[in-house]
Symmetry: D2
Subunit: 141 residues, 4 copies
């Protein structure tokens, strides 16, 4: 599990004073990069010929966020399949704990040679689990 | 059904020469605004106290898009439920017809007074169908 | 001289209903890319070992732009120096002709080998003039 | 004087692995908001009928920034004129101290009633100086 905080600025907001849909994906990406900053093993693997590639994002927008709000983004590996895995990211308002958004981000480790999703087994799977898992709630399917 | 074209520029691309995940949501939003430009009824309704509010986006990233590619975005109302509806948006490479991304965008018409999702019936439902439907494939659930 | 039109969408706007400062630089970049789309010689040169590199942007924000405004961006080469040149870009409201913003964008043609600004002479200068000039008002300094 | 740090992520970078021109303006704006976060007097004034409004940005791009670089942004009030003032913002690479970009951001305090730039005198001027000044190098013109 990993936590990132983001403070809402004027340039994050749209016409209605809300954070724009697209901007949330940048916040989620910021949180994922922060994980790789802290625990670099995944990136090492990337250098070994695997590219972290997002194939699906399913995001719920729960409540709007406003100027000066501080958002907390919690990220954890929620599922490891045979060739894809899911990071669950939850965004809440730090002060009020109101849920702002939550997303399941499905990714594969693209094998640079074959241009196909690599099998998530052995050292690759271990590294994923060490980096953003394991979680007691982890499903392995 | 509605079509929008977007040409990929240098500033759309990330480090790997691909269009960034968050930028695709801006492309999809551009396509949705273009619908409202052409067929203004929905916006009239918004002025009448209803706010078009996205509550979920489920997007698949199929193939990367590159510099100078022209993307075609097709948008159509794919489902009208009792209080929410879905716009299906499909992004393909104009030249090669390679699928780039597709998304289901679920929205509600937020009633400004009650701050709840309005019932999609009567004139509200008709306007939605006139603006981005009807489609032969339309499911009503 | 080259003209590009951009229509203001909700996601372009900030909290105050204005187009954000940073977003204008994307609009200006869009207009510059559109030049290269129409007249490809400059890009050919880029392939020949020269990279179009912006070294300064001096932008005046004159009046705000609002939702649904259509902006016209006029771009022209305004000065060709020995190692740098300037594109002047003017943004006006299409309907009212109100000036929105104007910018001088100074660029060099970076020589990939030496990593220094190339002399703008001979074929390089000709190509620049053919692509976004010549203008009667062109200063050569 | 005020310092902000920003870490370069993949989504900040363009095709050439460089931070895009427009993104730098977001970094500068982030740094300016951080000032208002720490020292809120300016915002109080804004509530009193004055809107902080940027009228010109003159930015030099010195050297490219790359993935994982940490940038330091130093912001200080460099000039207070009768109706406008200038914040000088300098971006350097934290590790190498290589200059990345520097900008003069000229702003006015727009009077909400008259829609004109307010005179920067009395309490308004004091608040500006207290918030992001005074600097020994401050010019008053």
């Amino acid at each position: 599990m990993h936590n990132t905080e983001i403070r809402i600025r004027g340039y994050h907001l749209d016409l209605f004073g809300h954070v724009n849909n697209a901007r949330y994906l940048e916040f989620l990406e910021e949180a994922r990069w922060a994980i790789f900053d802290d625990k670099l093993n995944l990136e090492d693997l990337a250098r070994g010929g695997f590219a972290f590639t997002v194939v699906n994002i399913n995001i719920n927008y729960r409540h709007p966020a406003f100027l000066h709000d501080t958002l907390c983004i919690e990220s954890r590996l929620s599922k490891v399949g045979s060739r894809s895995a899911v990071i669950r990211q939850t965004v809440i308002n730090k002060k009020s704990a109101v849920p702002i958004a939550d997303a399941d981000v499905t990714f594969v480790m693209l094998d640079a040679k074959s241009q196909k999703a690599a099998l998530l087994e052995g050292r690759l799977k271990e590294t994923l689990l060490q980096t953003i898992g394991p979680e007691s709630s982890l499903e392995t399917g």
